[in-house]
C-alpha cells in the first residue's frame, strides 16, 4: 500500500467516525447530526490552529506555547469588528482611551530610542527612568477617567467600546491581523534566544492577553462576556419563519427546528472548510517553494543556513507572525461559531497544549498531518468523556452502589481527558515521533 492511499484512508477513517456519530447511537457515538456537525466544525477550527502551529514548529522549529493568546485575540477582533457601536462611546471616553494608549506607546518608543541613541551611563538611566515614570503617570491620568466614563454607559448591557458594526466575515482576517501584530511584538523580543525562552515568553504573553481581556471592561466587557455576536448566515429563528425554507425542509422530510439548526451548522462547515482548504493550499505551496526549503534548512541547521547568508532571526520572525496570524483567524472563526466571547473560558490546557497534541499526533512538518490530527484529536477530546464513563462503569461494576470510592471514580471521569491526552502525546513522541502522516 503506498503512502498516498494509506493517508487517504486515514482521512476516510476520520470522516467515517463523524458519519458514525451522526447515524448510530451505539457506544460512544451520539447518533445526532447536530452533535456530529458540532464536532466537525470545531474539528475544522482546530485543524486550522494546528496548521498555524505546524507552520511554526514543523517548518521552522519554533516552540510557541502561547496559542491561547493568539486565539483569544482573534476572538477579540470579532467583537471589535462586528458588534454594534456603543452610542456615545467615543465622546464619553473612547477618544481619551485611544489618546492614552498612543501616549503609552510613545513612551515605550521614546524609552527604546533613548536606550539606543544615548551612551550608557548614569545620565541615560536617569533620563530613561524619568521618561518611563512620567509617561506612566500621564498615561494613567488620561486613561482612568476615560475608562470610568466609558464603562458608565449602560453597564448591564454595554459599557464597552463596542465595535464597528461590519460584516462578520471581515472579522476573520482582522483577527489574523491582530494576532500577527501581537506576534510581531513578542517575536521581536524573544526570538533569537534559546528555544525554551520563546516557550516561556509565549506562555506568559498568552496569560497576559487573557488577563487584559478579562479585566479591561471597556475593551470587551471582560468577564461580563459579549453575547449575541452577528453571524454570517440567518439565525435559526428567522429560518423557521421563512416559508421558502419551511417548504424545502418539509420536502426533505425534516422537522423545521432540526432543519434550521442543521442549515446553520452545515453553512459553518462549508465556510470553515473553504478557509481550511485555502490555508492548506497556501501552506502546501509555501512548503514546496524555495522559501519552504529555506525554512527547513534553517530548522535543521541554523549555523549552516546562516553561513549561506540567510537571516535566521528575520525568517523566524516572519514565520512566527504568519503562524500566529493563522491561529488568530481560527480564534475569530471559533468566536463566530460560538456567537459569544467569554474570556473566562480560555484555558491553556485546552487552547494551547491540546493543539500541540494535534500537531504531534498528526505529524509535525506535514500540513495534511496537522489537519488530520486536528480533527481526529478533537473527536477524541469530545469522546474521551463517554469512553471514560464507560470504562469507569466497567471498573466499578464490582463495587457496591453506595461505596464512596465508586461515586468518586464516576464523578472524576471528566478529568480523564487531560490524562488521556498526555498519554497520547507521550506515546506518540516515544513510539512514532514522526506522527501519523510523517514529513516527506
Amino acid at each position: 500500500m503506498n503512502a498516498t492511499v494509506k493517508h487517504s484512508l486515514m482521512f476516510a477513517f476520520v470522516g467515517l467516525l463523524i458519519i458514525l456519530d451522526g447515524t448510530t447511537s451505539y457506544g460512544i457515538f451520539s447518533g445526532t447530526w447536530n452533535s456530529a456537525l458540532g464536532i466537525l466544525n470545531m474539528g475544522l477550527v482546530s485543524a486550522i490552529m494546528a496548521l498555524g502551529v505546524n507552520l511554526q514548529w514543523g517548518f521552522a522549529g519554533l516552540f510557541n506555547i502561547g496559542i491561547m493568546g493568539f486565539t483569544a485575540l482573534g476572538g477579540l477582533a470579532v467583537v471589535l469588528v462586528t458588534s454594534a457601536p456603543t452610542p456615545g462611546a467615543w465622546s464619553e471616553g473612547g477618544i481619551g482611551i485611544i489618546m492614552a494608549l498612543v501616549l503609552g506607546a510613545m513612551t515605550v518608543v521614546a524609552a527604546v530610542m533613548i536606550t539606543k541613541k544615548m551612551p550608557p551611563g548614569k545620565q541615560r538611566m536617569l533620563i530613561l527612568g524619568a521618561v518611563l515614570i512620567g509617561g506612566f503617570f500621564a498615561y494613567r491620568a488620561i486613561f482612568d477617567p476615560a475608562v470610568s466614563g466609558l464603562e458608565a454607559i449602560n453597564p448591564a448591557l454595554l459599557g464597552s467600546l463596542g465595535g464597528l458594526g461590519l460584516p462578520v466575515l471581515l472579522a476573520w482576517p482582522a483577527g489574523g491581523l491582530l494576532a500577527a501584530g501581537a506576534a510581531w511584538l513578542i517575536g521581536k523580543t524573544a526570538l533569537g534566544l534559546r528555544s525554551d525562552y520563546l516557550a516561556i515568553a509565549t506562555l506568559g504573553i498568552a496569560e497576559i492577553i487573557i488577563a487584559v481581556m478579562k479585566n479591561e471592561d471597556w475593551l470587551s466587557r471582560g468577564v461580563k462576556n459579549v453575547v449575541g455576536l452577528p453571524r454570517p448566515m440567518r439565525k435559526e429563528i428567522v429560518l423557521q419563519e421563512d416559508p421558502g425554507f419551511l417548504e424545502t425542509a418539509a420536502s426533505l422530510g425534516l422537522d423545521p427546528v432540526l432543519a434550521s439548526t442543521l442549515y446553520v451548522k452545515i453553512t459553518y462547515s462549508l465556510l470553515f472548510t473553504a478557509v481550511l482548504l485555502a490555508l492548506l493550499w497556501m501552506s502546501q505551496m509555501g512548503l514546496k517553494s524555495p522559501w519552504g526549503r529555506m525554512m527547513r534548512a534553517i530548522r535543521d541547521n541554523e549555523v549552516a543556513a546562516e553561513a549561506m547568508g540567510k537571516d535566521v532571526t528575520r525568517r523566524h520572525l516572519q514565520i512566527f507572525v504568519l503562524g500566529s496570524a493563522i491561529c488568530g483567524i481560527a480564534g475569530a472563526m471559533m468566536t463566530t461559531l460560538d456567537g459569544q466571547l467569554t474570556p473566562g473560558t480560555y484555558n491553556p490546557l485546552r487552547f494551547t497544549f491540546l493543539i500541540w497534541v494535534m500537531v504531534v499526533v498528526g505529524g509535525s512538518g506535514n500540513n495534511f498531518g496537522a489537519v488530520l490530527g486536528g480533527i481526529l484529536i478533537w473527536f477524541f477530546w469530545i469522546k474521551v468523556e463517554p469512553m471514560g464513563a464507560g470504562l469507569m462503569n466497567f471498573v466499578t461494576s464490582g463495587l457496591a452502589d453506595d461505596s464512596a470510592l465508586k461515586s468518586h471514580l464516576l464523578d472524576s471521569t471528566a478529568h480523564m481527558r487531560l490524562f488521556t491526552m498526555g498519554l497520547i502525546l507521550l506515546l506518540v513522541l516515544r513510539f512514532s515521533p514522526r506522527g501519523l502522516i510523517p514529513e516527506k
Partner: protein, 336 residues
C-alpha cells in the same frame, strides 16, 4: 506625618506577604534550576509535581486529622509532609525511568525534552484532578496567627495592625532550613559535588568516573523534596487548587531565569525579586502614602500601579527586561 504607622502598614501588607511568597517561589525555582542544570531542559511539569506532592500531603493530613493526630499549634500538614515528599520522589523517579531516560539515551534535543515534559504535565494534572478534584482545598489547621492585627494594636496602641500568620513564619523558617541544607549538600557532600561537576561539565564529570544515572536520580529526589515543600507551603499560606499550581509555573520560571537558569543562588534571589515586584506593584499604596505625606498632599486615588489581576504581567515584564538586557540572568546562569 506618621512614620511609625506607615512602616507598620508597609510591613503588614507588603513586606511579610512578599517575603513568604518569595520563599515559596525561591523553593520552586530551585527545583526548576536544578533540573535545568543537571538534565538541561526546562521542566514544564514542575508546577504539577508541586500540585501532586501537595495533594498527597493533604490526603495524609486529612487522614491524620481523622485519627486525631496533630501538632498542637502547628499545622498537621508538617507531619504529613514527609509522606508527600516520598510519594513525589516515587512519582518523579518513575517518570524519569519510563519517560525521560529513553530521550537521555538518545541524546535528544532540549526542545524534545520540553515537549515530553508537557505530556508529563498533562498526565500529572489529570491525575491530581482525578484524585482530589479541581476545586479549592484548605488543609491548614492549628493556630492561625502568631500575632493577630487586633493583638498588635492593643499591644502597641498604633492605629495600624500587624498580622503575622503561622503559615508565613513556617514558610520563612522552612525555606531557610531547606536552602541551608541544600547548599550544604551541594557544596560539602560527595554526591552534591558530583552533581555540580556534572552540571558544570558533563564530559569531564563522566571522565572522572561519576555515574550519570546516580546524579540524575539524586537530582530528581531533591527536586521532589523541593517541589513538595514549596507546594505545601504555598497551599498552607493560600489554598490548594490544581490550576493555581499550574499557573505558578510562570512566576517560578521567571524567578529561575531572572536569577540565571542553572544557578541555585540566582533562583533564590530571583524568587524574592519577582515576589517583591509583584506585591509592591499590585499593592494600593494609598494607606502608606497617607501616613507619610503631609495632610494636604495625601493622594485621593488608590495609588495602585496595576490591578492585582495583572500580577502575571509583572513577573513577565521583569522576565522580558532580563531576557532583553542580560539573557544569562543576574547571576550568570548557564544558558545563552
Amino acid at each position: 506625618m506618621d512614620l511609625l504607622n506607615a512602616i507598620v502598614a508597609l510591613t503588614n501588607y507588603v513586606m511579610i506577604p512578599a517575603i513568604a511568597y518569595g520563599s515559596q517561589l525561591a523553593l520552586g525555582a530551585l527545583g526548576v534550576t536544578l533540573i535545568y542544570g543537571v538534565l538541561r531542559f526546562s521542566n514544564f511539569a514542575h508546577g504539577d509535581s508541586m500540585a501532586f506532592g501537595t495533594m498527597v500531603t493533604i490526603l495524609v493530613t486529612w487522614w491524620m486529622q481523622s485519627m486525631g493526630i496533630n501538632l498542637g499549634p502547628l499545622p498537621t500538614a508538617l507531619l504529613a509532609l514527609p509522606f508527600g515528599i516520598l510519594a513525589t520522589m516515587g512519582l518523579l523517579l518513575f517518570t524519569d525511568r519510563v519517560v525521560y531516560k529513553f530521550y537521555r539515551e538518545q541524546k535528544a534535543k532540549p526542545v524534545i525534552f520540553v515537549m515530553v515534559s508537557l505530556g508529563v504535565m498533562f498526565m500529572m494534572n489529570g491525575l491530581v484532578r482525578f484524585i482530589i478534584g479541581p476545586g479549592d482545598q484548605r488543609f491548614s489547621d492549628g493556630e492561625r496567627f502568631i500575632i493577630s492585627a487586633r493583638d498588635f494594636k492593643a499591644m502597641t496602641g498604633l492605629r495600624e495592625g500587624l498580622a503575622f500568620k503561622t503559615s508565613q513564619s513556617i514558610t520563612v523558617i522552612t525555606a531557610v532550613v531547606v536552602v541551608i541544607a541544600l547548599f550544604w549538600f551541594l557544596n560539602r557532600t560527595r554526591t552534591g559535588k558530583s552533581m555540580r561537576a556534572y552540571s558544570d561539565n558533563e564530559d569531564l564529570a563522566l571522565l572522572s568516573g561519576i555515574n550519570p544515572e546516580r546524579v540524575v536520580m539524586y537530582t530528581w529526589m531533591i527536586v521532589a523534596g523541593l517541589a513538595t515543600i514549596a507546594g505545601v507551603l504555598y497551599g498552607l499560606d493560600k489554598s490548594f487548587k490544581p490550576f493555581t499550581y499550574f499557573q505558578l509555573l510562570l512566576p517560578i520560571f521567571a524567578s529561575a531565569i531572572v536569577g540565571g537558569l542553572g544557578n541555585p543562588l540566582g533562583a533564590i534571589a530571583g524568587g524574592f525579586i519577582i515576589a517583591f515586584s509583584e506585591v509592591s506593584i499590585t499593592y494600593a499604596w494609598k494607606k502608606v502614602l497617607g501616613y507619610m505625606m503631609p495632610e494636604n498632599l495625601q493622594p485621593d486615588s488608590l495609588v495602585q500601579l496595576l490591578s492585582t489581576d495583572y500580577k502575571f504581567a509583572v513577573s513577565f515584564g521583569i522576565l522580558l527586561i532580563v531576557l532583553l538586557f542580560k539573557p544569562t540572568g543576574l547571576f550568570k546562569g548557564q544558558s545563552v
